[in-house]
Structures are given as C-alpha cells and as structure tokens.
C-alpha cells in the first residue's frame, strides 16, 4: 500500500502541569482521497486528536508521545513557521460551533481573504476567488455576504462560510470537528451533503469527528471508534456496521434508532458513564460497563490488533470471530 497522507502513530496527549493523560496511544491513518470518521462520546479524545494534527491544542495541553506524519513530514517536530504554512493550505479545519468560530468584528469577505493573504500575495483575482468560494457553498448574494459581519448570518450560513474558508485553497486534508452538532436537523443534512459533494469534487482526504455513528455512515470509508482516550475498534464502515467486535461498538450500534423497526420498543442504551481517560490505569477502559468482562480485562489493557480493514482492542470480541 502507498504511503498514507496522514499517519498518526502511538499518539498520546496529556495536560502539561500535573500530567493527566487525555488521549492514550492512538493510531490511525488516512490515505489520499480517503475519508475516515472518528466516533466517540464527549471526552473520548477525538477532538483533541484532531486538533493536535494542526498543532491547535488548547493552552495547557500537549502531545506527550507519538508522531503525526503528513505527506512524509513529521508535524510534531516542525518549526512554527512551517506548520503555519501548512495550516489552511494543505490541511484545514471546520469547527464544531459556527456561532463562535468566526471573528465577530471582521467582515466575512475579509476573513476569507485572510486565508489567501496568509499563503499567497493578494492580487485582483483574490476577491473573485472569495466570491467563487462562497458561491460554491451555496451562499446567496455573495456581494452582500462579503460586506456582512458574522452576526448577520444564521448558524447554517455561518457554517457554510466556515466550509468555504476551509476549502478556498483546496487543501489535501479537511478535518471536520462535528460540524453539524450545533445546527438544526434539517440544516445538518444540507451541510453534510455539501461537504460530501465538495470532497467528491476535489478528491480530498477527510477526517470526520463525530459522536453520531448515523451521521458518518454514508460519508466515510473507514471508522475509528474511541473510548476514554483510546481506540477500541477501527475498520471499514461495512465491517464495523455489519460485524462490530468490541462490545462498546456493538452497544453504540444497537442504540441507534432505525426507521425500519416498527416494534416501538425502547432504544437500547449502555449502562453507566465513560471513565475519565487519566483514571483508567492498566485495564480495559470499558470493563466497568461491559457485559463480557473477565478478570483479565481488569488486570491489563488490551492492544489494538488487526488490519487496516478491521482492528479491535478487546480480549473477548463479540461475534465470535476468533
């Protein structure tokens, strides 16, 4: 197989003072043109993993081990200026909350222009590119839009602006951190369709962070399931949906509402709450909530084993594949 576009190896993230591990030994890769979804609950470390790729971890949090390679270069050992040149040009990101992700006192047009300005010299065509980028994401009346401030736009429109901003320089990799969570259900579908369409058009790689398996099922090629800062299972969407092996993944899938089931039974849920990553210790993090738990699960942590097509970190995978 070719060299992956993005390869995250043994990545651990922790707080800097009073070290608390937040992301533990995470491995995944994204190949050119591929879309990978990272699924997990709040606090599972999925957003931190994504932010670490761009070097945008919040203050007081840092990468404590591992490597992140993009196109062969190690992003973690890159100097600040080289990393800056990568941001927005090769890798860009769409964030969770479009209401706060735009600068409230800067006009929309200026904010898009700033992306171009940061990587190229501006010329007469720059503003046309801004207009075109906004048109592509379905902003009506772009001439008025570039003169508007973010507060004059709705949440859905602002997320479209964010997407236009992320795509304006045609990056190789787009990271989307739950871009639809803060939006109405009807708007969600529009945004999802828009991103999928743009990805197809540009043959762009994508890292899609979400807590909703249903959202990504049709959008990504492979899935990574995270729990309490670790990867519990990863593999192709088909494999994971048809043959989940980690009890957590199986639990997540059975808690999805379906439109075909007419029996009106209650949705299944997983009892308990996720453990904090730094409190897990050398055990399986899911052990306290798992129905298949054995003493082995409480005495050592299972490693992620398998292939790109299918890997699982569990001593007792469900489905009896082993």
């Amino acid at each position: 197989m070719n060299e992956p576009l993005l390869s995250v190896k043994d990545l651990s993230i922790s707080t800097i003072q009073d070290p608390r591990i937040l992301v533990n030994d995470v491995n995944f890769e994204i190949h050119a043109g591929e879309a990978v979804g990272v699924v997990g609950e709040s606090g599972s470390g999925k957003t931190l993993s994504a932010l670490s790729v761009l070097g945008l971890l919040p203050r007081g949090v840092g990468v404590s081990a591992g490597s992140i390679k993009f196109n062969g270069t190690d992003l973690l050992s890159l100097d600040a200026e080289s990393l800056r040149k990568l941001r927005g040009l090769d890798i860009s990101m769409v964030y969770q909350d479009p209401m706060t992700a735009l600068n409230p006192v800067m006009k929309i047009g200026k904010q898009l222009l700033e992306v171009i300005e940061s990587h190229e010299t501006l010329d007469d065509s720059s503003l046309d590119r801004v207009r075109q980028a906004l048109e592509e994401v379905g902003i009506p009346d772009v001439n008025r839009a570039i003169e508007s401030y973010p507060h004059e736009f709705s949440g859905g429109m602002r997320q479209r602006v964010m997407i236009a901003m992320a795509l304006i320089l045609s990056p190789k990799l787009l990271i989307a951190d739950e871009p639809t969570t803060a939006l109405d259900v009807t708007i969600q579908q529009q945004i999802l369709a828009l991103v999928a369409e743009e990805r197809q058009k540009r043959n762009m790689s994508m890292l899609w962070i979400t807590h909703d398996l249903g959202v990504v099922a049709n959008l990504v090629d492979r899935l990574v399931v995270m729990y309490a800062g670790r990867i519990v299972e990863s593999g192709s969407v088909k494999e994971i949906f048809s043959n989940p092996q980690h009890p957590y993944t199986a639990g997540l899938l059975s808690s999805l509402p379906t439109t075909t089931d007419k029996t009106r039974k209650r949705l299944t849920s997983i009892a308990g709450v996720p453990e904090k990553p730094w409190l897990v210790g050398n055990t399986c993090a899911f052990a306290p909530r798992c129905g298949f738990v054995t003493p082995e699960c409480r005495s050592q942590a299972p490693h992620l084993v398998g292939t790109l097509e299918k890997s699982v970190a569990c001593f007792h995978p469900v489905g009896g594949a082993q």
Partner: protein, 326 residues
C-alpha cells in the same frame, strides 16, 4: 399618523435617551455641588477675610453678605447662578474681578492639553505593556509587566511629580515650569518642555489601569474559538495578536480609556499645582479656598459637561469597534 410614529421613534431613539439622561445628570450635579458648597463650613466672607472675619461687626457682615449675594434665599441664589451659567458668563469671580468664563477660557486649554498628552501616553504604554504581559501569562515578562502596573498604580502622582521636580531642578538645574506658562500657540517648544513631565506623570497613572484592563481582556479573548480559527487558517501569529485578539479586546480598553480621560479633564489638581500649570485644577482649588461659589460651581459644571460628552463619545466609539452594537 406618520407624525406620531416619527415622534415616537425620536423619543425612544437611543441618542435621544442618552441626551435626556445627560441633561438630567448635569442638573443633578449642579444641585449637588451648589448644596455641598453651602454645607461646608465658612463662606465667601471668611474665604476673603480669613481670621479677620472675627473683627467685622454685624453691620459690616450684613453688608458683605448682601455684596456677595449670599443674603438671598438659596433657591434665588441657585437661579441667579444658573442664569449666569446658561448665559455663558458663568458668574463673577470677586478675587480676580473677572467673569468665570474669562478665567475658564484661559485655564481650560491647559487642562485639555495636559489630559490629551496624559491619555495618549497612558494608552500607548498601557496597551503595549498589557500585550507584552498577556503574551505569556505567568512568565517572567508577565511578572515584569504586572509589577509596572502595580507600581504605577501604587505610587501617587505627587510623589512622582515631586521626585521629578527635585531631581530635575536640583541635579540638572532644569525646571522649565518655574518660568511663566507658555501656551503652545505662543511658544510651542517651551510649552512642550513644560508639559513633558506632568504629561508623563499623568501618563503613567493612566497606563496602570489601561495595562491591567488590556491584559485581562486579551487573556479572555485569546481562548476564543475565532482565535483558534485564525491560527488554523495559517494567519501569522503577530497578525492574529493584533487583528483578532487585540481588535476583539478593544471594548473594555476603550471604556477604561474614556473614564481615565474624563478624570484627567477634571483637572489633575495636584500635578497642575506642583508643575505650576494654570489649569482648571488650580482654578478650582484656589476658588474653594476662597469659597468663591460661582467659580467652583461653574468649573465643576464644565468638568461634568466634558465627562458626559466623553461618555457619549465612548459610546460612539463602541459602535465603530463592534458592529454588533447598534
């Protein structure tokens, strides 16, 4: 119909409300300062005659009370002062034999110039040191910046002024303020030399709160999502600091600057006194010791009008700084 809705829009428009509340404020201040002057012990007679007031006989006192107009009922005194204030004459200063307006015309430019110099120096120093500090909270540079803020806040203006005067006059035999005050249009170079030190003292006093406000506003803004977005776009760090972080922190900085400027326009009494500047601060101080009611009252009204105007201007600046404020 349309006339009524127009009127309604005018009455509820924010500009109208602001002006109406400003006028109410000014009226309140005029009553307050009028009453305070009459509550404190002594009056114009004791102010003018000092301890010799005791030697005056009741007949003389009665005549003097009539001469100074303080034999009138309070309401009449207030109305008479208000009338002269509104007519633009501001009342009569017995000690100088001039109208308070004439005095103010000379003293106000001194104070306004000093306030401008102090505010500009203070804002430049305050924002620069605030940014310097906030760049790395908890670091040595932050400690240095905060130490400056604390010292500037803790050292009183009169200490700093006296120190400067002492050092400059004693060691360097340089003290331009001992010469006659020169307005900038007569001798700009002399005026600059005379304004330099008092301006610096006031600038440091303004820099302290501006620095602290800047620092905390920046630290709050730097964690906002849009700052992360800016970094994520590949915007260079310096530009993120100015165009995103500082730009979004301006509201509290503008507020603090407005307040400080307002204070300085109220006459930096002690600094003006030490540097022998014939400004409003000195005018009021001397008028208080002489119990010259009209001078004090009218000067305070001038301060109040300027303060209220600054407040309205600050609001206008808000609208330029933040497009969300309508």
């Amino acid at each position: 119909m349309q006339g009524i809705s127009k009127l309604r829009r005018l009455v509820f428009s924010s500009t109208f409300i602001r002006i109406a509340s400003a006028i109410t404020t000014l009226f309140g201040i005029s009553v307050f300062v009028f009453l305070v002057l009459r509550v404190i012990p002594g009056n114009t007679i004791t102010g003018a005659f000092g301890i010799e007031t005791g030697a005056l006989n009741p007949q003389q006192i009665a005549e003097l009370r009539h001469y100074y107009g303080i034999d009138q009922p309070m309401v009449m005194q207030y109305i008479s002062w208000m009338r002269s204030f509104l007519s633009g004459n501001f009342g009569y200063s017995f000690a100088t034999g001039r109208s308070v307006f004439t005095l103010t015309k000379v003293a106000l430019p001194v104070t306004v110039e000093l306030a401008f110099i102090g505010t500009i120096l203070g804002v430049i120093m305050g924002i620069a040191i605030g940014m310097f500090s906030a760049r790395k909270p908890g670091s040595l540079r932050d400690f240095g910046g905060q130490l400056f803020g604390l010292l500037a806040l803790a050292i009183p203006g009169f200490v700093l002024s006296t120190a400067i005067v002492t050092i400059m006059a004693n060691k360097f035999h340089y003290f331009p303020n001992s010469l006659e005050y020169m307005p900038p249009w007569k001798d700009p170079w002399m005026n600059f030399q005379q304004m330099m030190f008092p301006g610096l003292v006031l600038g440091i006093a303004v820099a302290a709160p501006v620095m602290r406000t800047t620092r905390s506003a920046l630290l709050e803004t730097v964690d906002k999502d849009f700052v992360r977005t800016a970094f994520g776009k590949g915007v260079p760090s310096r530009k993120v600091q100015f165009k995103h972080v500082l730009r979004n922190s301006l509201i509290p900085i503008v507020t603090m600057t407005g307040i400080q400027f307002g204070y300085l326009l109220g006459g930096a009494v002690i600094v003006e006194k030490i540097f022998a500047l014939p400004g409003m601060g000195r005018q009021v101080l001397e008028a208080i010791t002489r119990r010259e009611y009209a001078t004090v009252q009218s000067s305070v009204m001038v301060f109040a009008i300027m303060f209220v105007t600054i407040n309205i201007l600050t609001d206008l600046v808000y609208r330029r700084v933040d497009p969300r404020i309508k």
